[in-house]
């Protein structure tokens, strides 16, 4: 039973996965462009997913036994594979059209205040809009706004930017033992809030910052101190009595600007870290430095260095009729993104001067 495998074909690429695997996770095994974007699903959070609808795919064949296609697009993060299932992601015009719609919906009430947002540069909504969105908006109304709010001494809630993915709700619920963080109201007037506006003081609550795909929950000890792409990610650890102590430091020179959990290639936290590590250990001497982090999402942080990424065996040829390339390659048009500059070789803090073309 345990070694039984299901064959599933996604965009003409076949993989074998264990029964119970979701379409999204099967696609992640293939990797690359056939992996649907996920804004709410988080493999470490039970019950997450199904909400944002960015991961919609078309099931063109249900299974070997029941080959009927599924009548509607399905959320790949919450739909498990069947043996012989055939799925279309970027090979389905229906999916691309629906996804474009979802991205547009996610953006109509988003403030687009990236220039003053701490998340800019590592924001999943930026990545998503860049890859799947339209360049303009058809929305002509005032955007929904909320008052900024502090939830505790370390976390700032900027509800206006929230996409209601519920990740922080699941995190607060599952990592901490008291349930005091949730959603008030409903529809487009729903908002994240804490019990009676109380501060969140659980020792793991800082993780909500890391799971938030946008800049709705940010680290007050880092707020406005720097842009993430000017800081250098470094993996480090310490002997922590509360958590694993395995973190990522965001440094400029010898200065630790920010401490976060380490994230994998899907932007998910590898191991949760405690508040003490995150908010209080801001000196190099607090840490044993392991070396530069491997950042392998196509974020500006990586400066074009997809260190550690397995190069996609050119599967894309198989993806009939589609050229799933980025609309534009930021590294080609931005001075700040110079692939030939190896971040870890820069001495001291990286500075915008380091990226000047004449350098």
């Amino acid at each position: 039973m345990s070694d039984q495998k299901f064959k599933v074909t996604i965009d003409n690429i076949t993989v074998e996965v264990a029964p119970g695997t979701t379409i999204l996770n099967a696609a992640r095994m293939i990797g690359g462009d056939v992996t649907p974007p996920a804004m709410c699903y988080y493999s470490k959070l039970e019950g997450s997913g199904g909400k944002c609808r960015t991961c919609l795919v078309e099931v063109s064949k249900g299974s070997e036994k029941d080959p009927r296609p599924m009548p509607k697009l399905v959320a790949s993060c919450r739909t498990t594979v069947m043996d012989g299932m055939e799925v279309k992601n970027i090979t389905s015009p229906k999916v691309l059209d629906a996804r474009k719609g979802v991205v547009e919906m996610l953006l109509i009430n988003h403030p687009l205040d990236c220039p003053v947002c701490d998340q800019a540069g590592e924001c999943h909504l930026q990545d998503l809009s860049y890859e799947h969105g339209a360049s303009g908006t058809r929305y002509e109304f005032d955007r929904r706004t909320f008052e900024k709010e502090d939830i505790g001494d370390y976390i700032s809630l900027h509800m206006t930017r929230c996409i209601l993915c519920y990740r922080c709700v699941f995190t607060a619920d599952q990592l901490t033992n008291k349930r005091e963080h949730g959603i008030l109201e409903r529809g487009d007037h729903a908002e994240i809030s804490t019990l009676l506006g109380k501060s969140l003081d659980n020792e793991f609550i800082g993780n909500v910052i890391d799971v938030c795909p946008v800049g709705a929950l940010t680290d007050k000890t880092f707020r406005f101190k720097n842009r993430v792409w000017f800081t250098k990610p470094v993996d480090a650890h310490r002997d922590c009595p509360t958590c694993s102590g395995k973190v990522r430091l965001w440094m400029r020179g010898d200065e630790v600007f920010r401490v976060t959990a380490r994230k994998d290639q899907w932007g998910e936290v590898e191991e949760w870290i405690c508040n003490d590590c995150r908010f209080h250990k801001k000196e190099t001497k607090d840490w044993v430095i392991e070396g530069p982090s491997k950042i392998d999402r196509h974020s500006v942080i990586s400066q074009g260095h997809y260190v550690g990424v397995k190069k996609q065996p050119v599967l894309i040829d198989k993806v009939i009729g589609k050229n799933p390339k980025l609309l534009l390659d930021i590294h080609k048009v931005s001075d700040v993104n110079r692939p030939e500059i190896e971040l870890s070789k820069i001495e001291g803090p990286a500075h915008s001067d380091d990226f000047k073309p004449n350098k």
């Binding site: 719609g101 979802v102 487009d188 729903a190």
Partner: protein
Amino acid sequence: MKLLLEHAHVEGIRYYDTYRKNGGYRSVEKAFKMTPEEIVEEVKKSGLRGRGGAGFPTGMKWSFLAKPEGVPRHLVCNADESEPGTFKDRYLMEFIPHLLIEGLIVSSFALGSNATYIYIRGEYAWIVDILEQAIQEAKNNGWLGKNILNTGFDCEIYVQRGGGAYICGEETALIESLEGKRGNPRIKPPFPAIQGVWMRPTVVNNVETLAAVVPIINNGGEAYAKIGVGKSTGTKLLSVCGNVKKPGIYEIDMTQTVEEFIFSDEYCGGIANGKKLKACIPGGSSVPILPANLTLKTAKGEARYMNYESLADGGFATGSMMGSGGFIVLDDSQCVVRHTMTLARFYNHESCGQCSPCREGTGWMYKILKNIEYGKGKMSDIDLLWDIQRKIEGNTICPLGDAAAWPVAAAIRHFRDEFEWHVNNPDEAQQRNYGLAHYADPIHVPVTA
């Protein structure tokens, strides 16, 4: 033909003694002589379809209920009735509460539910008292409680008030709310039949569906199936509102034409105040609106009947749905744009906000419709509306997204010139309504998908 409301006019039918004298609780006596499987079989034979909106065959739903050893099962009665235009369950519960209680006892026995819940719309506060009194009376007379009629079957019925959210009528949101959580619809699968309330196998049925079990057991499934036409068996309650002479609750056997239903004195009595029929929403606010000509006749030019199949004839291009039975009639002084805006506001307000297309799209549609209605619309807004509803429909967790999209789609599909008139004549549109246009005349209807 009346099955459910047969005794509704009897003085004092709300109370146990009168109800019992008029043949009440006979079906329980009969059911207890049958096996649960035989009851499910009778319901299957009856062809009864869910009266909550989707019209799913009840017997089939019951047979899907998982029965793992040692795990309790539950029956939940959906009395959340919040769809604009729908108020049939209220009438039934208010005037003949014992009919529902009787249906619940029989159904609980058939499904093996020892704890059965009625989840009732919060605003129906006074009906909670009526139901609780009926439950108490039934209990006092031995129809509920432990070892009912010495059969060894225990059953309690609990009434739970909702908190005032339309979305809690969606069965999985209802289950969440019943469990004391935020009423967000669950992602399916798993379906309630496998994992429902407290992750136990659960059947959720509408009030009218469960009441209909009483005549089915009393007269037999086959007798019930003989009433009605085709797959629309039995009788259906309709709540009629809008511009007719006699709004109210009607029980029909689904053999009437829509024309007869709207215009005959036996039913709605025609359009009030000497006006003309402009449009009709036959099954509650979520179903597509039809212009007069398509209300009365199908695209093929045949008479349209008051049943599941005929109302849906032509698909969404030229047909609509039976839905929840909220029959809304609009006369020629009604404005379709304003009407659509009102519905859009409702869905915007009631979206639970879990999925992005519904959360954001409903608000967007409402804002655009408000602009058009108040003379600030652009021609391109009409196409934009169409595109937004298209992006919502089918892409959400629960059918509320569809329910928000369909009324907008149908209004544009059938009344586009009224929208255009609003855009082109913003000032005039503030002064008067567009009126009837050509829709009441038998115009040619293109048969397109």
